[in-house]
Symmetry: C2
Subunit: 433 residues, 2 copies
């Protein structure tokens, strides 16, 4: 397998949409490729909220990276945590090994930003990884088991209050899917007073889904309110405790569950030399996606700050995928001694799902609302989900969920995070005697 | 919903095969039934080893108990940990509530017995619950990721050595499925020297599957040895450490994974008055399955010591299921003022799966070996698996696994047990520079 001349080595750090795509597109480039990720699977992030809402198995939206790379014989995978990148010596230091590179693709994505809100990191649930989704699922299902054992009406109200912070796509999806979850759990808890269940969506601005045209945000707000969700605008969360959230107007809402869907920042690894960054720690890149200061280093996806027509890109999956392809293309050019070409994003449209058979979208000049964008959202994500088996599993779950109104994955696994163990009330109540 | 006369209350503790069946069979008995379990799902224990071997999603073999009870309007479910049973005051004390009963069915099953072997509890993996299976899956898959990063041949051999303690059905299944896993992982680790992988099955006696006729144990031994598994007879494990197992003959085998499939004991809850027990803390019961000392308390499944034709029952699922039906029948008789009837087990046959298209079985006077009992084992368990959706999911996974030789669920989720975090080697090796 060893070629006569020394092959160039390309290291790709991060196996999200951008990094995985880059590694795949580099398969037959002649270079030796090393893909590094802390997990041995790619997470299909758009469907995380469905794992959190007990609609999909975690395994259905995770795809083993070694399977992705089976058809790329000169690419290897390293499961490791990146600790530092040394641009001078051209090495990536991980907890498992030190990997040298000739070219580097940085694709480490984003991480939850708690915006300095006290208690948020300790008591609110982020939704960025599969582990987050499983922890949130366990927590939500546990709340219903607790509420049927609770006799104090105040405590019951607290357990049945779900607060979602952030009115972007994740916040809207979570709010909508909780309504769906409520409907399917009704059969399981016939004695529960479901009118007590309260879903609150908190947004700092005055509209939802601000990356889409205003009209779609207004539709989304109306739709969520019709579904019984309280949408609070111009409200910030000032503090999160085990028992409540405090809002910027000074009011306090007792709640047992806070989902944190407000704000992401670039997950920039430690580097030896300072890099030029833009807002939210994103790396400034040239139009070719190369770093400002390093010809042989690229940054893509949520880690990179890129503009198109003078406006920053929105941070969605198609952008990262197209950047993955572009960066592979540019690397092939560099390997042949040619200069890289500027990246240009081709926007096929934007969709967002609300839930309960409604969504919104913008395709070309057309604004869509209601059932059609909902169906389109599901279809597009089913097509893009990696792996035939996963697609089949997800489709079967959706047929059961959306047609029969049932969801089968209501399993509370043992806690895999300290947050699971938080209990609102620990006193014993004889529920009957 | 409240009847004119006060209904009798039956409490069922434990929702395994026996307890869940008892609760279901009591659905329209006129009594108020309360089913208590620490989990909100029933675990289909026979398929746990397939979860551990990355062949099935955990959710596919777990069935939500509230779904089971949907058609039983007078039965309620309490997710709680039983702390003590007070026979005098007729109450079950849990961590959530104190429940009084008129009649009690004890069905708390069995738990792993580490037989006093030092280190076994800390370093060996039991396989009794869904959490165990997930922890073992994470651990096994992690081993392969570690071995490709390891350059020391001694450490590699250790990481690729899998020791299974116990030659009963679970031990045999685990040994066989590791061979299947090895075959499907080959595509994923093309550079790995698979001939180094070593599977060792340790048995204290001189045959495997001792609850079946000797000839079937001999066939199983030959089959496992053909598959390259080392079967050690008349060997006991004296100590388990992070790095090795020590055998009774004084020898030490370096290993990174020890599966503990040796020995179960009854999981008897704390009780206020001493009960008459047989071997392994099992409760002695009358032929009617009532406790010796309490007319209104029954014990079934692995918790009960029952004999048929002078021999103790084997502790398999069909026994527990039939006892669940029988106990419900006897309770209905008691509610009507009649006396309970003796339980008699109807043995339809016994099957055990080895893996790699082989199994063994005894049906009536016929001993079966090879492909037929393998197929029968899978078919029977598919039919008995609760829930149409789960059956479909399992069937699809089996088709992919047994026909295409692939298994898709090779996902290492974050550790949910301290054992996952054990690392054999922590030094950094530059894997290339």
């Amino acid at each position: 397998m060893q070629p006569v001349h020394n092959p160039q080595r390309i290291v790709v750090v991060g196996a999200g949409f951008g990094g995985m795509q880059a590694a795949q597109s580099l398969a037959h480039s002649g270079a030796e490729v090393c893909l590094i990720d802390r997990h041995n699977y790619n997470t299909f992030v758009p469907l995380l909220y469905q794992v959190a809402a007990a609609q999909l198995e975690p395994e259905s939206i995770a795809y083993p990276l070694r399977t992705v790379l089976r058809r790329a014989p000169r690419t290897r995978f390293l499961m490791a945590e990146v600790q530092r990148i040394d641009f001078e010596h051209q090495v990536v230091e991980t907890d498992k090994a030190v990997i040298s590179y000739d070219y580097l693709v940085m694709a480490t994505g984003s991480q939850t930003q708690f915006l300095g809100v006290p208690g948020a990191e300790d008591f609110a649930f982020p939704l960025q990884t599969l582990d987050h989704a499983i922890a949130l699922r366990n927590h939500i299902l546990q709340r219903f088991e607790q509420v049927v054992q609770e006799h104090d009406p105040v405590q019951r109200q607290q357990l049945l209050t779900f607060v979602i912070v952030g009115g972007g796509p994740t916040g809207v999806e979570m709010a909508g899917t909780l309504v769906e979850l409520k409907r399917s759990l009704r059969h399981d808890y016939p004695t529960l007073n479901w009118s007590q269940m309260r879903i609150v969506l908190v947004q700092s601005g005055d509209n939802l889904l601000v990356n889409l045209p205003n009209r779609l945000g207004h539709y989304t707000t109306r739709k969520l309110r019709q579904l019984g969700i309280n949408v609070y605008f111009k409200t910030r969360v000032r503090r999160v405790t085990e028992q409540a959230v405090e809002f910027s107007d000074g009011s306090t809402l007792p709640t047992g569950t806070v989902v944190w869907a407000a704000g992401l920042e670039a997950a920039l690894p430690d580097v030896t030399a300072p890099l030029t960054t833009a807002r939210k720690h994103k790396l400034k890149v040239r139009p070719t996606l190369q770093l400002i200061d390093h010809d042989n280093v690229y940054a893509i996806g949520d880690l990179a700050y890129t503009q198109q027509h003078g406006k920053p890109l929105a941070g969605v999956a198609p952008e990262a995928l197209q950047q993955g392809v572009a960066v592979a293309h540019n690397l092939r050019r560099q390997l042949r001694g040619k200069s890289p070409k500027p990246f240009s994003y081709f926007n096929k449209g934007r969709l967002a799902i609300i839930g309960v058979y409604a969504g919104v979208g913008k395709i070309g000049p057309f604004l869509l609302t209601g059932f059609l964008p909902w169906l389109l959202w599901l279809s597009v994500h089913l097509v893009y989900l990696p792996g035939f088996r996963n697609r089949l599993m997800v489709l079967l779950n959706w047929l059961q969920g959306y047609i029969r109104g049932d969801r089968a994955i209501r399993i509370i696994l043992s806690s895999n995070s300290a947050k699971d163990r938080i209990q609102l009330s620990k006193h014993k109540t004889p529920i009957s005697s």
